[in-house]
Symmetry: C2
Amino acid sequence: MKDEAKSRKGALQEHLKTSILTLRLQPGTDLDEAHLSDEFGLSRTPLREVFRQLAGEGYLDLRTNRSARVSEMSYTTLRDFFLAAPMVYGAILRLAAGNARPAQIDALKDAQQAFKAALRTGSAEDRALANNRFHDVTGEMSGNVYLLPSFNRLLIDHARIGMTFYRPQSDEMSENLSRASEQHDAIIAAIEARDEAAAAKLAEDHWNLSRDQIEMFVMPDALDVPMGVPLLSKPA
Amino acid sequence: MKDEAKSRKGALQEHLKTSILTLRLQPGTDLDEAHLSDEFGLSRTPLREVFRQLAGEGYLDLRTNRSARVSEMSYTTLRDFFLAAPMVYGAILRLAAGNARPAQIDALKDAQQAFKAALRTGSAEDRALANNRFHDVTGEMSGNVYLLPSFNRLLIDHARIGMTFYRPQSDEMSENLSRASEQHDAIIAAIEARDEAAAAKLAEDHWNLSRDQIEMFVMPDALDVPMGVPLLSKPA
DNA sequence: CGAAATTTTTTTGTATACAAGTTGTATTTT
DNA sequence: AAAATACAACTTGTATACAAAAAAATTTCG
């Protein structure tokens, strides 16, 4: 196998992942094998293997004899998300603080640098991807094969939910993003100090900020996304 | 596509899953594509798709240009398992109690019938598979796409850990299995009553029983499995 | 016209052939 | 005899051709 081929496969995977995370490919979109294999210079066999892999990670849904589809987001999904996220995020960050290796801490700092850069000069997509990368590294740090599948699944929809709800530009939103960035710094510090309790506490804070941000823009009339309205009240 | 072909693919998947759960295929075993495609009357293309899927679910590990391998169990794995299981099991059972549909409750009762039958007349493998099926149904009941990936991953290794530690025959073990069966009945009752708190409490009890059972047989000298010894003390 | 049925077209699933990579063995070299 | 290298056998990865299913378009008949 030529090196090119491997990178083509990797390029396809990367393209699909980022497109899905940023909603360039919206939930429910059908994927065309012929078109994609053409575009990425791959035959359908390896392409379909990438589909299977991404389906396993929660990016895609596969139905027999029908096209692969970007995984859906529904009302139920959002409710389940709010239920699972605080628990899993807390556990992951606690473990990350206990197990992080120096190289991983460096990777986390790099990710945070990229996130800050995205805050200054990037698009909403850039911010979502950089934030996703930051949390992805914390997952790697935790190293717990049993929690990671759910954590990674949560990260996918956290990015997508963020893309839908962080869109409106306002002062309060900018302020929240600054606070998120500060919390990232605090998380790095807690991990570097191997302070599990602090990391768990910061996970809670970080989640609350994220949740508030989402709630802030959950105003039924303003919604044009097919996701329904969560039960959380708290008017803006 | 002929119906046969679909069932062949399903048969392969089922064969691999049960073989891995029961340790007939031990952790680290290399899988031979040529041999398996011969045995199940499938070409390598659909066979490799099954591999990808099972890898996504945590049954297999794939390495490029090397054979697929049954996913490993290590010392680290066991430690991570003990960390993640109580949390996820509790959450799943709580959600199951809140969301279970009548048809699912019937399925759960069926699974419990099969488990009881396996206790009376079945092999260790039968018991492990029936128990696995029972908990799998509770996962379906929870219906939470974010928790299920981790829960299913835990179930795989719970079955495998059970197969290694529940092997020795003793009165105390038989008693524990009876208690497990009683707890299953209680779990069914809690779910039928939609009593989330009771379900969560039962999850804790059930997990403690399972943990005790495992600890009971964790006596370093007796171990011939390449899994190391967990930090949990409590001599038998 | 309009709904149902049939044909045509398109898309998905599988088999097979071939290319590229890996592993084991034998031969050469020191 | 040990190490290194070259070669052969085998295994994995990809492309392509073909079969089966679904979707679309056309025809048929009420």
